[in-house]
């Protein structure tokens, strides 16, 4: 059998197959297929995202105590109350302090871990798993471990036991705003929980850097180590770094579980979501005021995210850099 013959025989095959198996029913209707696949998700999005957002906006203009179907329109009163509430405004300060700690620390730690794991010749998968595993732990469970075992205020708490070896008296880590030891508890908890996840992102980015770049740099006389990292690795990680910082910032805004479980009835160290939860879902049951706070917070997140994107060039095309 010559090659030509084979080619001649092979060419009509698609037509035959097409005639033999015509596209029928669901397969033929691209529009139907589109709605079949996206419809359920779209319905879910409308019911569970857009309707609640709209409802929340509506509630924010009503006196909605103990009800989500209020009738007493009060205009911007809820907004006035929220913006003059020291607990809410203080929560924005808490968030800012938290973000100022957690964003650079997590960025630095996750990048360092990624660099360490990337350079490992042996047991790379093991260490990658070890550092990633805390990500699977629930924030609530981790908070309880931190609060009850490591950073409790009694003499047999892990941290106090270690301090005791050096003759330091037991510390009440979470009870007292001065000195603010509670930041140590909160920040270490979140670092432990999320550094592994961002390490994986950086690891993927590191593996995508072409080795030719390092070879070219070496030929040009770049010293391995800090110089290579500063001029090759770090610029190549720019897109990942921007995404990581954006994700960290959004995650910091959404901080809830660890603050709620660690800080209890403190008036300090409460991020916005904890305040809004206590106002609306919690004991006060003020859905109007809670919704007003949610609207304010959403606007704030949008502004900060856009500002951060502009500063860091997130989404900007390569050509415009």
């Amino acid at each position: 059998m010559s090659t030509t013959t084979a080619r001649d025989l092979a060419s009509p095959a698609p037509t035959k197959a097409s005639k033999a198996r015509p596209r029928r029913g669901l397969r033929a209707n691209a529009t139907l297929n589109f709605w079949l696949f996206t419809g359920p998700f779209l319905i879910g999005l409308v019911i569970f995202v857009f309707v609640p957002i709209g409802w929340s906006l509506w509630l924010s203009f009503f006196d909605a105590r103990f009800t989500v179907t209020p009738s007493n329109f009060i205009g911007f009163d809820n907004y006035k109350t929220v913006l003059t509430d020291p607990n809410f405004t203080g929560s924005l300060v808490t968030f800012t302090v938290f973000a100022a700690f957690i964003v650079p620390l997590t960025w630095g730690l996750s990048l360092s871990l990624a660099l360490l794991v990337h350079r490992l010749t042996y047991l790379r998968a093991f260490f990658r798993s070890v550092f990633f595993l805390p990500t699977a732990c629930s924030y609530v469970a981790a908070s309880l471990i931190w609060k009850m075992s490591i950073f409790n205020g009694v003499r047999f708490g892990l941290a106090n036991t270690v301090l005791g070896w050096f003759g330091v008296d037991q510390v009440a880590w979470l009870a007292n705003p001065t000195p603010p030891w509670y930041w140590l508890v909160i920040v270490t908890l979140r670092l432990w929980l999320q550094a592994g996840f961002y390490m994986i992102l950086f690891l993927a980015a590191l593996q995508n850097i072409p080795s030719e770049l390092y070879e070219a740099a070496a030929i040009d006389g770049a010293k391995p180590g800090w110089q290579t990292f500063r001029y090759i690795t770090l610029p190549q990680l720019r897109a990942t770094s921007t995404a990581v910082i954006l994700l960290l910032l959004v995650a910091a805004y959404q901080a809830f579980d660890e603050f709620f479980n660690l800080m209890g009835r403190a008036t300090w160290g409460q991020p916005p979501l904890v305040i809004l939860y206590k106002t609306a879902i919690g004991v006060n049951q003020d859905y109007g005021q809670g919704s007003a706070g949610a609207v304010v917070l959403t606007l704030l997140i949008c502004v900060v995210t856009l500002f951060q994107g502009k500063i860091m060039g997130f989404g900007r095309g390569e050509e415009s850099k």
């Binding site: 103990f66 009694v154 880590w173 919690g282």
Partner: protein, 421 residues
Amino acid sequence: MSAMSSSNWDRRSLLKAAAGLAAAGTLSACGSNNGRGGGSGSGTNLVQYFHAYGEPGVEQAVKRYAKAYTKANVSTQWITGNNFENKLFPALLTKQAPDVFEFHPQIQLVKSGQVADLTDIIDPVKDDFNPADIKSHTVDGKIYGVRMIDDPQFFFYRKSMFEKANVSVPTTLDELIEAAAKLTTSKVKGLFLGNDLTPVQNNLIWSAGADTLDDKNQIAYHTDGVVEGLKKLRTLFTSGHLLLDAPADFWDPSAFNQGLCAIQWGGMWGMPATQQALGDDFGVFPFPKIGSNGKQSVYNGGWSMFVNAKGDNVDAAKEYVKWLWIDQKQYQTDFATSYGFHIPPRASIAAQAGKLKSGAAADSVKLFNTYGHFDNIGWTQAMITAFNDVIANTVRKNGNPEAALDTCDTKVNRELKKLFG
């Protein structure tokens, strides 16, 4: 090709299986027990919410009582964690709301129409209840909850540690602060008031000779005595003699039983565990008086059963509440005395509660009767939270007590205006 066929067959099979499951689900939903019920009854399904009691056996007991009820299937949601109200209140706004739930008497539940009037089921036995409990559940002559248990809260103290440090039982806040200092050693802290100190906030008010609200539902806590008490608590907080950040909070007697502190604020419910751990080496005393106009106080907390007025089965729920918390005296006795200790709110049951007639339990009942303050139905959760902030901002954060009380006044007055006009 074969793979294609197999794929088609799989899709058909899946569709058939899904249809079969849907049909089976529909049929099973037609049955009397759709998974919601847990009892032996048929027809009506009732859901009851309980917060998680710490004492072993209580959950099983509650479910056992529910199972014994024959006129409806009663299932129990046992809500763990420290925020029972955070789960209860949102649930009451939904279709999944409980028909019956335990909570404390608070007027916003009545004003917002969330709880049903239970006057008709309580009236026949009203005189058998502690009058203060009836009063604390009454709004405009109607009674909105059935008290299940009374839970006095006071100090537990370790007798042997007091003797060793040559300390007498304190009767004033100054004496309490001095005692905490004398009792503190390298391994034991003098005093534990709970991790955020809020458990004693009402007692701070009462012991200073003030009250949360007066008879006209106006602010009664903003007095010089309360300011003095807040300042003294701040001294205690910074003294190093207070146990802070304990793994278990005040409601659990662990810190006291394990010897982490010499005095702990706690409730009568923890007494059986303390007796088991320490035998007779403990006693109880009320919150000491503050200033010259003060007087010792005990908080008579407790839990009450309410019926969701917006539920689908209000009459059936009321009938269940009547059956369990009014008619079934043996269950009420069991609930009050077989696990943690509680004082039965019914005089006839309290009179027969043998376990409460001797030792520290008898002393507790005496403190309850002598120094007790009951829930004020007008002092709502929002007001309690506002005063939580006073404790946080003054005692723990060293803020100005007058300024903190002014802020609290604003919040409480806003709440009072909404509730009473």
